[in-house]
Amino acid sequence: MSSHAPVRPLRGGVFIPALLAVLLSNTASAAYVPESADTVIAELPPLRERASQITAGTSPTEQLNAANEQIELAQRTGDLRHLGYAEKTLQSLDDRSADAWVLRARIAQYRHRFEEAYQNLDRALSLQPGHRNAVLQRAALLRTNGKLAAAQEACYQLPVADPARSLCEWPIRGLRGELEPAMQALRNLNIRDGSLRLWRDSELAEMHERAGNATLARTLWASVLAGDPQHHFARRHLADNLLRDQRPQAVLQLIPQGSPHPGLEIARLQALRALGEGDWRPQAEALVRRLERSQFLYGERHERELARIQLTLLDNPARATALAAENWLRQREPEDIRLLYRAALMAHQPEASRDVGRFVEAHAYEDALLLSGELNT
């Protein structure tokens, strides 16, 4: 028998059994018949979350709000299903809604589909030039992709009086050789809006890390987390800071077991390893399998997380270097810079980090952590 399109046969000769094994690792059946009718077989998410999807509003505004609510739920809970529900809600919206295209861009961005995100933002901006969120998001994407000059330029599309313009502009300048002035500028910003303040403090915390002020950075991450306990990224950066400070026990208090965020889970496993506790290695291997499965099923890219696992948990710097180099083609944030640099260093493959060197030199990028020899990115 032979299969035909749209069958997607596994490719890669010898990798066929290996990848199938990964995919099938979840299918090893342990099916059972519950003992009684009262046996609870599944804990379901709160009805509110479910209802908000089903009862997506009828007016465009209500639908936009419903989609936005789902995206925020995804952000808060780490549950990607909500992005699917938001996508469904947005399907019924008019193609002439700039807001809808911005939300579609956010979904694409969360799924690491950057090209699609750019296209969606371009649609939004063509419908509504200067759309604030579209401009901000486009600048953020350019920044992620390492196109720093274009990112900074994008920020200037915002009105001078808008405090978000400074929040957009200065962190990018901080990546382009103006770390100290950028920190000063952000500190001097007079911001009343709570969300914007959290944004500012997060940026400042990240800059303090690069400036070598670990204690100040830690205080800021903690304060951001106090302001928004669901801020998973602040939690992860705080965990990394604590790991660098040799405080794995504090990391375990910060991150509960079974976190749905791979970045948090990796930090937790690093802490377990540092303490010599628990079965961190099989957990790390299981996480790799899940990320690879997700990559296969959804076409998402997770090289950053996979590289970090290989480097800090599975002691395979050569594999980490290959993954980090692949990640570098799309993502050039500070942690991507450090990840590739360190992986290449540990794998004794200096040529692999040559691009990083060029990037650092071209942008006069400053980062105390880059040369500190710390493993935690």
Partner: protein, 364 residues
């Protein structure tokens, strides 16, 4: 929409930060080995609840009794969302008794569905349309087994259908694919190649250091290659089938040690001309190395053996190709007295240094 949502500023600050990656997915296994097609369906209960509202008391804790109470509704939904056509005719899927399992760590409904038709003579198609209406990012992983062939397919709203055409058996295709993999593996496996070539270096000489006759060189080579083949085939088979299971790192270090031993023997002659014995002993370790890439082969024993045979044959063919190229070169070089005095020891020293580097690299 509000001016600036919390989620948006997080998105702006960390646009590429990894999310939870566990979106909705179902798993299907289509077995075409019996008299009629059999489909195993595993769908997360959370997704089914979204569609069918299984949690009738609304306490967000789904009980077995609640699921059983709506069994007919579930079966209807599955039958509507899974359409099997065999040789151009619809094939009814009859559901068996439900059970509970897990998909990617989430509780899932586990149900076998037996096709009420014969296995396909020509064509089969399976249309999947579950959950997509609620969540367009939902995916189903379908694994189809027919004879020694196992294929995986990702079903999505854009590609919701499996199409399967019978005809020329793909068992041969699979065999050839594994054979190619075996050849590829020996050619990219510098440690395997270096071990073999190091053993072959003295095969073109006699004890006095003079060049051996062509027939003698060929006999020495055949002995070494045969010994290496026998032993690595044995451990490759045992390891690939899961009988032996050693840590990959340990095996890699042992392989590097085998190269070092072969090189040292060439220089010092401490083991004499027992090159075939070395090949036999260390071939066992190299077989384990080959098997690393085959570990976890899916399918039944027959298909595993078939894949294994293909892979092993590929290794042998790849190895033979190397020998065919290397032997005349070595034999030509051995014509000069410098071969025994300089080329052999210098080459072996170089190999030894490389192997020491590997040992250090794989140990640290």
């Amino acid at each position: 929409m509000r001016l600036m949502h919390l989620a948006l500023y997080v998105a702006l600050l960390f646009p590429s930060a990894a999310f939870s990656h566990w979106a909705s997915s179902a798993e299907l296994s289509l077995d075409l080995n019996g008299d009629s097609p059999a489909l195993l369906v595993e769908v997360p209960l959370r997704d089914l609840d979204l569609v069918l509202n299984l949690d009738s008391d609304g306490d967000r804790r789904l009980r077995w009794g609640e699921l059983l109470a709506q069994q007919a509704q579930i079966e209807r939904y599955l039958q509507q969302g899974l359409q099997l056509r065999v040789d151009g005719r619809n094939c009814i899927l009859l559901p068996g008794s439900p059970q509970v399992d897990a998909v990617a760590g989430e509780p899932a409904l586990w149900l076998t569905m037996q096709g009420q038709c014969a296995t396909p003579r020509e064509t089969l198609s399976l249309n999947y349309n579950l959950i997509f209406d609620q969540d367009p990012s939902h995916r189903a992983l379908l694994v189809t087994s027919a004879g020694p062939t196992t294929r995986s397919t990702v079903l999505s709203p854009a590609e919701p259908q499996l199409q399967w055409t019978t005809g020329e058996s793909s068992a041969l295709g699979d065999f050839l694919s594994f054979m190619r993999s075996g050849m590829h593996h020996i050619w990219i496996g510098s440690d395997h190649l270096l071990f073999l070539i190091t053993l072959l270096l003295p095969a073109v000489l006699v004890t006095s250091g003079r060049r051996a006759s062509a027939s003698q060189a060929l006999r020495n080579t055949v002995l070494i290659v045969t010994a290496f083949t026998l032993s690595h085939s044995l451990t490759l088979g045992l390891a690939a089938l899961g009988v032996i299971n050693l840590p990959g790192r340990l095996v890699e270090i042992a392989i590097a040690v085998s190269v070092l031993v072969a090189a040292v023997n060439n220089i010092t002659g401490w083991l004499g001309r027992r090159h075939a014995l070395l090949a036999l002993i260390f071939g066992l370790v190299h077989g384990l190395g080959f098997a690393n890439v085959l570990t976890g082969m899916p399918g039944d024993l027959r298909s595993q053996l078939w894949s294994l045979a293909g892979f092993n044959l590929g290794v042998e063919v790849g190895q033979l190709a190397v020998v065919i190229v290397a032997l005349p070169v070595l034999y030509g070089l051995a014509h000069s007295t410098r071969y025994a005095r300089r080329i052999l020891p210098a080459g072996s020293l170089l190999v030894g240094l490389v192997s020491v580097w590997w040992i250090v690299e794989r140990t640290v």
